[in-house]
């Protein structure tokens, strides 16, 4: 499954980093502590979080995640948008809360 498939099936907003819209998705990880994400997210996973700080992109880039999904209608901060566009790692958005977003994505990836 690709990032663009998630966008379509979960009706996600694409904030930035559109070049990476065809990134392959191998799974997902949900966490808001960036120290935890740094240690535990795997390459090719989608990362679900409520953090909007620019540091999310640094970690996404370091760990080569497929895309970031921001929950609860949160929008990325300006510096995060800039880096997302440079790196080609999309930041996506949903109005769903973390529990619902994770559950929906789990079903989609494991269905």
């Amino acid at each position: 499954m690709k990032v663009c498939d998630l966008v379509e099936k979960l009706n996600l907003k694409v904030f930035c980093g559109e070049q990476g819209i065809n990134n392959e998705v191998v799974g997902a990880y949900t966490s808001d502590l960036l120290s935890d994400v740094m240690g535990n997210v795997d390459e090719g996973q989608v990362w679900i979080t409520l953090q909007t700080h620019r540091n999310i992109m640094a970690i996404a880039s370091l760990k080569e995640v497929a895309a970031i999904i921001l929950v609860k209608g949160y929008k990325p901060e300006k510096a995060a948008i800039e880096q997302s566009n440079e790196e080609g790692i999309p930041i996506l958005g949903t109005d769903m809360e973390t529990f619902e977003a994770s559950g929906t994505l789990f079903q989609l990836l494991n269905g």
């Binding site: 994400v37 700080h53 640094a58 901060e77």
Partner: protein
């Protein structure tokens, strides 16, 4: 120039987690007993007790930095200090404006009162002070800089409420004066784990919530005399002012 001992992270009776013994008088008395020349008053998201302590400090030859321990949107704790009453007032307005309204339950979190020099209660903060502001760490840092303040991310080595736990590392664009490592830190291990700390001046403090802990962690500054701008220069290693040592055990 002379060496001055500084503990820049002390909570008062106003912090919900601060002991009721942490009255202005007691804090200054304990600071004297511990040979501290400079202290920083940093209650969670409030500056309201700090000014009186500065006044009492003046009469007792203890220089007091007035400020707060801000909790940002990401739940990163940061120390912020200001030179003038006007700057402190403006920062208090900023805190009042951006602290979400969650009512304190003193039986769960502790009392949040501020007191006069005799320890009489002057007011009680109704909002729970330990919640995160609706402002990002960058926004808080910008505000502190606009008010010519000192901005120090607190206990950066700790697994909770720190820049390392919440945000992983410090973005190079963030305007920080220095970093605080906790007084129990093993600096060598911390630097191995978080190499970005090397890019900043490092100090340590007590983070005291009870009188006995005041001065349990401190940093020694080389200054002409205690003063806001002298300390600021030392943090930036300017004009010969500097941090000489920090009181870590390891």
């Amino acid at each position: 120039m002379k060496a001055f001992r500084a503990d820049l992270h002390i909570h008062t009776v106003l912090s919900p987690c601060g002991s009721l013994e942490m009255s202005p008088e007691q804090i200054i008395q304990s600071a004297k007993e511990k040979d501290l020349d400079i202290i920083g008053i940093a209650d969670h998201n409030s500056t309201r007790q700090s000014r009186l302590i500065k006044e009492i400090g003046k009469q007792n030859d203890v220089f007091v930095l007035c400020g707060a321990e801000v909790n940002t949107k990401e739940e990163v704790h940061c120390l912020a200090f200001f030179e003038t009453d006007e700057q402190l007032d403006e920062f208090q307005d900023y805190l009042d404006q951006h602290l979400p309204y969650i009512q304190n339950k003193p039986e769960l979190f502790g009392d949040q009162v501020w007191v006069d020099a005799e320890g009489n209660i002057l007011g009680e903060e109704d909002r729970l002070l330990i919640v995160g502001l609706d402002q990002s760490i960058d926004e808080v840092a910008d505000k502190v800089e606009a008010l010519n303040g000192i901005f120090i991310p607190a206990h950066v080595d700790r697994p909770r409420y720190s820049v390392s736990s919440q945000l992983g590392f410090i973005s190079p664009d963030l305007k920080v004066s220095a970093l605080e490592v906790s007084r129990i830190a093993n600096l060598k291990e911390v630097l191995e784990r978080y190499s970005w700390i090397k890019n900043y001046p490092v100090l340590t403090n007590s983070d005291a919530h009870v009188p006995e802990d005041i001065g349990a962690g401190y940093s020694t500054f080389l200054l002409e005399a205690p003063g806001f701008n002298e300390i600021k220069k030392a943090l930036h290693n300017e004009d010969g002012r500097k941090i000489i040592s920090i009181s870590l055990k390891f």
